[in-house]
Symmetry: C2
Subunit: 259 residues, 2 copies
DNA sequence: CAAGCTTGAAATGGATACAGTTTTCGCGGA
DNA sequence: TCCGCGAAAACTGTATCCATTTCAAGCTTG
């Protein structure tokens, strides 16, 4: 399949905006979006986030270059940038979508549990009336989605809710670190997407956090966030257990191998 | 100055080992240490950690390539990898060593205070007799350096001490995150290197931590690390205050600009 | 029939070449 | 002396080419 860079608005323009926002937030880093390298990078990153390639899928620079209609060099550099940020694994022969082990996921949850409760507490300090209203709106969307058993919509609402309180955190470094982990773990989303129990857990978490944010009770926010993450972690491992019977690897992506 | 990759054992072979250890620890990532790109990357990262280039210093791929005696390509890729991990800033024209504002440094300290006490506590659980002995040795080096008012040696001992307990942390993600922050802010070391008071603070911190590690008392380790970081932060801002009279930017690196 | 070696294709890493763009520096005029 | 202005140099981004490495399949041999 040919992936054009100029057209395909949903593919490329959306990512540009996100990149702009992010880099402007961090330290005014000079964005150079017009280079083929950056475009391929952004496109691939978006496709990786959507789990378009399953774990273990191999990405070869010549193939990527052919897909985007460029020479090998921009494709190579985009792949290397993705690898250096952990979105891809560099093997002896090419790049591969990393297969997160259960242990790896546990480690990531451990780090997130150190960061996110504190970040949420900071957000609770900073949220204004408008922010709280937006959080309520996202919560209502989540309720609606849960009532309709719409896993997709619930995930969207969850992501929106998360983005809203993260916007109120006044430590860009902290936000950046948290988001870097979020991007790595679509694995969790995919594994737990289909479970009805997960949807309940997510809605419960959003409800509890929403209430805590509304009262601006920092301790409650901290506790709520921690409980939410514990529940999510337990849910993930329960899903893995149910699906694979306790295998170590967390497969289940879209296209497997294919090479 | 010409930076050879094959010779210059202190510069390059040591870094190879570190890179090998690190990448092997993370996720079995395929290390390809023989590539020029990786070698330049590791060497530059080491030099950045040692604050060989001051804030704002511009690194141009042609210059780096000439320094290492390679073509532009490996240098370019190493620089881009460093930039994508935050060790360098990509400007509209080349790469520059980031200049952290006081606010930025405060933010980074806030994140580190969330991560490092927990990480040190985990290390305390895992350290074996050999690790404790190595920590004692590093502490003795720090004592020696402090007695001689040798700021350079104290910095080395401090880096060694940190590396040792980080090696005992069994969560590679956590280690990776901590290291990314640590390497970013050599600024702190530069600004505070010359103060005698800072040297005392550093030695005190190492002493306290060393004692806490020796007893494997997790709570003491956590508290010691937090106190150490608070002291370091206070010391940094005191140094900035004393030096520049409260300027926002934290200059004072080795070579400034130079282009 | 199996195990090891050989050979070939594919893929990566590095070097060189080239085009486009920005910056800077020197010069001339007001 | 200061302000344009133009040319040259520098820097980046991309393409193409070559060398080296690695994986795999097939063949040979015990």
């Amino acid at each position: 399949m040919r992936h054009d860079l100029a057209n395909s608005s949903d593919e490329w323009t959306g990512v540009t905006d996100e990149a702009k926002t992010r880099s402007a937030k961090v330290a005014g880093a000079g964005m150079v979006p017009s280079s083929l390298r950056s475009q391929i990078y952004a496109s691939l990153r978006r496709r990786l986030q959507r789990a378009e390639f399953g774990p273990g899928y191999r990405l070869v620079d010549t193939d990527v270059a052919a897909q985007y209609g460029t020479s090998r060099m921009p494709a190579r550099e985009a792949l290397m940038a993705l690898a250096s940020q952990g979105f891809l694994q560099q093997t002896t022969r090419g790049f591969a979508v990393p297969e997160h082990s259960s242990h790896d996921i546990r480690d990531i949850f451990a780090v997130r549990k150190l960061l996110e409760p504190e970040a949420a507490a900071a957000a609770a300090r900073n949220l204004d009336a408008g922010g709280l209203a937006a959080l309520r709106a996202a919560r209502d969307l989540a309720r609606e989605a849960c009532r309709n058993d719409d896993a997709e919509a619930l995930m969207e609402a969850n992501i929106a809710f998360r983005g809203l309180w993260l916007d109120a955190v006044n430590n860009p470094r902290l936000v950046e670190t948290i988001e870097s982990f979020r991007d790595h773990i679509q694995t969790v989303r995919i594994a737990t997407l289909r479970r009805a129990a997960t949807r309940v857990v997510v809605l419960d978490g959003i409800e509890a956090l929403s209430a805590a944010f509304a009262t601006r009770n920092e301790a409650a926010v901290r506790a709520g966030m921690l409980a939410f993450m514990d529940a999510a972690e337990a849910e993930f491992f329960a899903a893995v257990e149910a699906e694979t019977g306790g295998e170590a690897k967390t497969g289940g992506g879209a296209e497997e191998g294919e090479r």
